[in-house]
Point group: D2
């Protein structure tokens, strides 16, 4: 029976040692903390994991550590993000060998591609590991092309795709996928939102789960939020979502005059995890720019005010 | 004494065997043909080389084969294109070991970056191989961020950059770089254009050379074009450029309803080289879409009409 | 006491006679139909009204006809969409003279503008008619710049803006405005969504109303949808929204190989209103392309299947 | 016999009185200065004229004043820039009545359009004034769609277009138009570049003229530059172009933290003309932001250093 990826599935952030190798001790600690909080699955090597900053060796270390530490308590899916089909193929091999129970792939990037080429890309990835559910990762802000409902449903109907992680940021587009999925009777096709500040809205639109980067910092609230949504307690869900969104302020503390959105956003998450003692350091891979002491203090205060713990 | 990359430096297209390994025999043949035509250098692992479709092993095979075959007759620079600094670092190691005499790097991509981060990216790359001239590769159509004159000149002044390959497509911007270079007295900073249909204009604006993808197919014309430009024979240069541009039609034969610009453009170059017998096949890496028989016949006719030979 | 624009406020589509003057008889009929269906207000001269295709005379005819026919039953706000401040000024004068009770303005466009300039634009518009509530119209797909929460709240705090019509299409951004409004205690600042397929989601996020183009065709469903939302009957709201979205299919019948999105979308609305007998014709202003007979038949069938009436 | 627009045709900047009406005295002075410098024609109501900030009355005043003052010494073409066909129609009527000898129109904007719709737009404009040469104005930075060579040549072949003012900023694209024009044997189709820093390059690529905003400030240099180009004195042309480009620095003095590119660029031109005494003031229409005293002093110094006179 195939594993399904639904519910709260955080994209696990990767802790680094000073030499930028993977800090597997912190990673194991973090995995336990997420599972203890009640998440439904784990997404290794997503964008938040700095997957595109990791060498193949480091990618393998991340997946095998997460799979080993999860120990079957929750399923683990692995990102295989890379520029083109031949490179994704290598990551598929590695992910399978590391025990991943699912795959997540973006459209090709760097090179401009046609819809026909994007479809072939996903078909070939599926053929490499036909037993693993393959999720399409819609993230136009990174790959500069969007995956639309007709293409996704076409590939789902062929059996190529088992679902989609939609980080396109447009709830109307996510809903189009849900409606098209329902119209096609593809009941097993999972639609997950990557938008951490509209989880209640996405659930009301019919999604099956969420992949929240901020869930690394506060998994409990996302687990509770998903529970309220599946119970149809929408007003409470919306109120909780608003409180969660305030915590999202840690992702915008970094000064935009000095760093890009990834340094500020991921830096905020990692600083929070370091402040909480989950990670031994908030270090990011280059060329990310570090937060300064004032910014770190601001993040620490937000975390403390929210009453979060390790 | 440092090698300088100037004049006509084709971005060498990579021939594949049926199993998508590098067809080193065809590649050696191609290298000889380019050098015999009088090119001033070779750029391995550029976008036209399908560098972002090649595994590390294949990338190494490409650079070492080109370096070995060039045998010092012309200098060889190697692209180290990848998403982020740690991955570029691996390619730098490989390129150095393979004997490359220069490096060409883009801004980071996939992740959104800040100017500060782009600068750090180039500084770190330079530090990895301080003895090799490092060229910045401005290619916003692929990496979705442009490198502007102030940033390039800042990095040139620091000794980080030895030049730029400008594939931004805007001659006014290329000229800004040239003018800023001259104003700063950075006489050794090489400005190369990647625009194969405005080489005469770029030379009139002051560039030092050109990296023409179409030069894989017709290196002789680009060598002649550069000669006319450096001799100030501008009217003749413009007339020759117009004739060359007609040959560029091979890059737009592929049906845009069926394939992307890379499949059509690179596919046209590779089909031409296969027709000429330089390559044993025009095969491209997936998910590129192949040209069909009618399209291949059209390209063959254009090549024959132009009187090109192997 | 100031009029407030909240609830269901359709952007009234403009019927044309054969000579492209305003078909005021059809327009009066349409206004009655909308008010009878229970809408809370009317938005004249929005994008759906082809405001940017209308001469000043025609714009005045539209507003005065709608105001006259509404006769105080519901408030009427008027778009003053134009490229720059001096031209908007003319429309403000006209709207005031025509009896509009509110104004809706976009950021300047054609010319690239700075945040400072956008703010000055809205301040000057407010100064022209300080007694009328001014709504900012966020429509980046048309003006190619987005209005963000900090700018809107700054202008609301100054008393310049009374609300926003957010047609940005990103519910997370709409929610940021709602949350910032609440945090600032600006209880009278109205947030309206222009996204007709996520009205339930927008209400759950806290908006005060909706400006649905499709509400021209089926006002009853939007009135019912808003009622369900304000009563907290979210599951029923979501189910109704999904049914409404199916009707939205009339906006995508026009062949994209032959026409742009406005011709297909607005053409679908106008064809539906003509089929229902509300308008005497579905004619659009040039250079819009007309739907063909097959497309018109498809739209008629969708309308009939939905059981809609005049 | 039809008037032809070729050579140096400055887009005449519009001087304002304090009440933002057109300062016709300064405008007449400016027209004389341009004609005395040897320009080949005048383009009224271009982007640099703040055409999209002018009421119909002010637009008429501009064209009739320029036509009257030119008094047949050089031909005058008039921009009819507006959002859609019906509004452009009004400007065509006004321009014809004001004595314009040519028309310049952009693609429609605000509304998203299809190629078919853009073509119909130009066909209808031509039909409104079939005796006046109509130039297409390619300015994607303002209208967010580009006019490509196949569309332009199709419309030229039909007799709709007499030429193009290409402000797309990409010389390779301008050259494609020139080459397609030559291939089609449309010898009377005029290709003008709007890129004031690559005039030499554009001429080498085969253009017939230039519409330089900076030519308002220094018409003599552009006249000389065009002369050198038509005489094939390319090295001298390139050297002169580089000197002219230094003067273009007046367009980037305005602080980008405080104003947009139009305020800085146009503000620089108008400040220069005020400093020279050609205009009585450098005032711009709202919401343009004014340059401050320090910035004005910088511009004055650049102008004085260049030795320019009224």
């Amino acid at each position: 029976m195939t594993v399904q990826f639904r519910g709260v599935i955080p994209p696990v952030v990767t802790p680094f040692r000073d030499d930028l190798t993977v800090d597997t001790d912190s990673l194991r600690h973090h995995v336990d903390r997420l599972i203890d909080a009640g998440v439904d699955g784990l997404f290794a090597l997503g964008s938040s994991a700095e997957a595109v900053f990791l060498t193949r060796d480091n990618r393998r270390a991340v997946v095998s550590t997460i799979v080993d530490q999860a120990a079957g308590r929750v399923p683990v899916t692995a990102g295989v993000i890379d520029m083109t089909t031949p490179l994704v193929a290598e990551h598929v091999t590695d992910a399978v060998e590391s025990g991943a129970q699912g795959l997540v792939a973006t459209a090709p990037f760097y090179v401009r591609t046609h819809r026909t080429e994007i479809a072939e890309h996903f078909r070939r990835i599926h053929d490499m590991a036909p037993d693993l559910p393959l999720l399409a990762y819609n993230i136009p802000v990174c790959v500069h092309v969007a995956l639309d409902a007709p293409l996704l449903i076409e590939l789902a109907t062929e059996g190529v795709l088992a679902g989609v992680k939609d980080s396109g940021g447009v709830d109307a587009a996510t809903r189009l996928i849900v409606d098209a999925r329902d119209a096609a009777g593809l009941t097993d096709f999972q639609v997950l939102t990557g938008s951490e500040t509209t989880v209640d809205l996405a659930y009301l639109a019919g999604v099956d789960g969420v992949v929240p980067g901020l869930g690394n910092v506060d998994p409990w609230s996302y687990v509770e939020l998903a529970r309220l949504c599946t119970q149809g307690r929408w007003a409470e869900a919306a109120a909780l979502q608003t409180r969660i969104t305030q915590l999202f302020g840690i992702a915008t503390v970094g000064d935009p005059a000095r760093m890009g959105g990834s340094s500020a956003g991921l830096g905020g998450f990692k600083a929070a995890l370091a402040h909480l003692g989950v990670f031994t350091s908030g270090r990011m891979a280059p060329p990310h720019q570090p937060l300064d002491d004032t910014e770190l203090a601001t993040i620490a205060r937000i975390i403390d005010d929210a009453g979060l713990t390790a």
